[in-house]
């Protein structure tokens, strides 16, 4: 039962000549029993953050708390954190049973107790039939389940999962995702799941911290990340494809408010004029609109279709609208081919505006 709190944690690697700020002033509150995702592209600092939580790295600045306890200087062992990595770490020459039992034997638990626990965990993870086998004879899907069982048996306070499903085949991945979710719901353990894959994070975690360049850009539910991205990066990173981001000027004309560009892109946003004026009416904004909220058929904008990507019963249209490019994701019943000129509109309530300098959401 652990609540984890990172208080202004920074980690700098290297020396005076070459400094790399891997984690940049990160504050993160992970409630007891929560399933939290750390999501970001490679090099974003998510793995370093995780290593700091596990005690494998010491932060340059900031503190790490488990409940009320400052654990910043604690060794990994004392923190009682279990980790599962991308590639399963097992002893190849002893059986699955012995692999799983190892942490208990090291703690000198009575034999009967060990047997009972291994049996329970093996059932939970679904590997009972493999207990007598040696890992070398098993495929990676089963080996990763064994690694998970080995982590579970120690009854740790925190689980850290570092992209454990990437090497599995699709069927096993679905199976283990379900298993992980069930285990977490059943055991109510604090779980931290690190991944670059939005699907893994959005599927498993209740809350996700999206990281880029060492910083946490947003810490929210999957729905909030999708509907209300805090900045342009999150808008782009979440979604399939990501949010369209279109730099525009804000122009007032005849009591109306428009988003416009030099090339003739012009979109009436009078319906949010009051809110924007309250914010001091910025001169430039980035218009954010998800491809699934770009409507084809009628509307104030003209767009040329340059490419059509098929995605099952939907299509992704690559559009050139005046001097801007954007994508639209629509049902396949919308007939469009490269070279066609289309009329487009945006679903008004789905329009987001961002500050072009900071990338932060303003509306």
């Amino acid at each position: 039962m652990v609540r984890i709190f990172l208080d202004h944690v920074t980690k700098i690697f290297g020396d005076k000549k070459k400094r790399v700020v891997a984690v940049d002033d990160v504050t993160l509150d992970i409630p007891d029993g929560a399933f939290v995702g750390l999501l970001g592209p490679s090099g974003c600092g998510k793995t370093t953050t995780l290593r700091i939580i596990a005690g494998l790295e010491t932060p340059t600045k900031g503190r790490v708390y488990f409940n009320e306890e400052d654990v910043t200087d604690w060794e990994p062992r004392k923190r009682n954190v279990a980790m599962v990595f991308q590639f399963p770490v097992l002893y190849p020459t002893i059986t699955v049973y012995e692999n799983i039992a190892l942490p208990l034997k090291a703690a000198k638990e009575p034999e009967a107790e060990v047997r009972k626990k291994v049996k329970e965990i093996a059932e939970l993870v679904g590997i009972t039939e493999f207990l007598g086998e040696k890992p070398v004879r098993l495929d990676v899907n089963v080996r990763q389940k064994v690694a998970l069982a080995k982590a579970l048996i120690r009854d740790p306070s925190v689980f850290i999962l570092d992209e454990p499903l990437t090497v599995l085949d699709p069927k096993a991945r679905i199976e283990l995702r379900t298993k992980l979710k069930e285990i977490q719901l059943g055991l109510k353990k604090t779980m931290i799941y690190v991944t670059h894959d939005q699907t893994e994070a959005l599927t498993l975690a209740e809350k996700i911290a999206v990281m880029n360049a060492g910083k946490i850009l947003q810490y929210d539910t999957p729905e909030a990340l999708y509907n209300n991205p805090a900045n342009t990066f999150v808008g782009w990173f979440i979604g399939n494809p990501g949010m369209n981001l279109i730099e525009c000027n804000v122009v007032e004309e005849n009591d109306k408010l428009y988003l416009s560009t030099e090339g003739g892109f012009r979109y009436d946003i009078s319906f949010i004029a009051d809110e924007l004026k309250k914010l001091g009416l910025p001169k430039n904004v980035v218009l954010g609109i998800r491809p699934e909220f770009v409507e084809i058929g009628s509307g104030p904008l003209e767009a040329k279709c340059v490419h059509v990507e098929y995605a099952g019963n939907r299509i992704i249209l690559h559009l050139e609208s005046y001097d801007r490019t954007l994508k639209a994701k629509t049902p396949i019943t919308v007939k469009a081919k490269p070279g066609d000129t289309l009329r487009i509109d945006f679903v008004k309530e789905k329009i987001k505006l961002f500050d072009p300098k900071t990338g932060n959401a303003i509306l």
């Binding site: 592209p41 490679s42 699709p170 679905i174 995702r177 379900t178 979710k181 069930e182 719901l185 670059h196 894959d197 939005q198 699907t199 959005l202 599927t203 999957p222 729905e223 999708y226 782009w236 990173f237 979440i238 979604g239 399939n240 494809p241 990501g242 998800r290 491809p291 699934e292 340059v306 490419h307 990507e309 098929y310 995605a311 099952g312 019963n313 939907r314 992704i316 690559h318 994701k329």
Partner: protein, 367 residues
């Protein structure tokens, strides 16, 4: 600028056919795609077209001329491999110039050729930069410029995007397509990603076990996959396949499964007995989101898998196999909850349970 013809080509390795009696035509100036799972023979087929390997049987024609015995240079074929393999210590200019330097061309001719191809690919302003300073799309253009600079007429792309982050791939796909349209040459893409083939290939050859199992446009293959393998493989989310039975009694035919039964009007051509039923996840819907469909039933949620802007709902409906249902939104539900799902009959596929070949589409059977 050739039209490429592959005629009854086979290639054996240690007696085993890696490419097995393949015939196909690739139209001139098109974006053609060879799609297949690992070890399907797609890379070998590419190497045969490139002239890196000699077939054991059959021949390859470029514009009617037999090129089977010629190498890549004589065929005027260039290959860009995975990652585009640029030299990190060389500028974009030197990367593009490297094959010409190897050919020991005079300096000013190299310069002229590199500038020409760079202008063509709109990267002349980036020539002094190193690969690490270039965007993904620019790197791609540099690699293709390097392939083109040797006067290649056919460009083979060997899984160029496979090792890139999927977020980068989103934009690179469209970029590849744009480049092919700009340069107007024959581009052949080899890929293991059905989505990439769907979004890029004008014509697609689907390979499995050394053979081309289906060749056609994206629409052809998606609408009428020739067998269970293509049905499962060629889609955004894998097609659901489950067992069913055609029952005929007194001129009345129906399709029966463990959980539903559908009357069929035009089942004359279908044999009685067991069949495999295919249903694409995107042709199914969750009733509370999309309303009732022609066939509706209930299932228990195994997992709601959120794929960016979409969700794949995995359910157990008692069919023996789990079913996947695509939802075009973020839709999260608890494991074990029950939900109602449905589909329309026209979207069914009926495959033979013997050889797994397509027998009919739902639309043919009720019309």
């Amino acid at each position: 600028m050739p039209e490429i013809k592959v005629e009854n080509v086979s290639k054996l390795i240690e007696g085993k056919p890696i490419v097995n009696n393949v015939s196909m035509e690739i139209p001139d100036k098109s974006f053609f795609c060879i799609l297949g799972p690992p070890r399907s023979g797609k890379t070998m087929l590419m190497r045969l077209i490139a002239g890196l390997e000699m077939p054991d049987k059959g021949r390859i024609l470029f514009d009617g001329e037999d090129v089977t015995a010629l190498g890549p240079v004589e065929r005027r074929v260039a290959i860009a491999f995975q990652d585009f393999a640029l030299y990190p210590h060389l500028t974009a200019f030197d990367n593009i110039a490297s094959p010409l330097k190897a050919m020991k061309l005079p300096k000013d001719e190299i310069r002229r050729k590199v500038l020409e191809v760079a202008r063509y690919l709109k990267i002349e302003h980036r020539l002094t930069h190193y690969p690490s300073e270039l965007s993904g799309g620019e790197k791609q253009r540099v690699a293709i410029a390097r392939a083109l600079v040797k006067d290649a007429e056919v460009i083979l792309l060997d899984e160029p995007l496979v090792r890139l982050d999927y977020k980068i791939r989103e934009d690179m796909r469209a970029e590849l397509y744009k480049i092919q349209k700009e340069i107007g040459k024959n581009v052949i893409l080899i890929t293991g990603d059905p989505f990439e083939a769907m979004s890029l290939g004008e014509r697609i050859a689907v390979m499995n076990e050394g053979r081309i199992v289906q060749l056609g446009t994206m629409e052809d293959i998606y609408e009428r996959p020739v067998n269970v393998f293509v049905g499962r493989y060629f889609g955004v989310v894998e097609m659901n396949i489950f067992d069913g039975e055609i029952v005929k009694m007194n001129d009345v035919a129906s399709l029966r499964t463990k959980i539903f039964e559908i009357p069929l009007k035009n089942a004359r051509n279908l044999p009685e007995g067991s069949v495999k039923i295919g249903l694409r996840p995107e042709h199914m819907s969750v009733l509370e989101l999309a309303g009732k469909r022609e066939v509706n039933f209930r299932g228990k949620i195994v997992l709601t898998e959120v794929v960016g802007s979409d969700t794949i709902v995995h359910i157990d409906a008692g069919l023996g196999e789990l079913l996947r249902v695509s939802v075009p939104a973020i839709y999260r539900r608890q494991i074990g909850e029950e939900i109602d799902v449905g589909f329309d009959i026209e979207n069914l596929y009926i495959f033979s349970s013997k050889d797994e070949k397509l027998l009919a589409r739902g639309g043919d059977l009720i019309g």
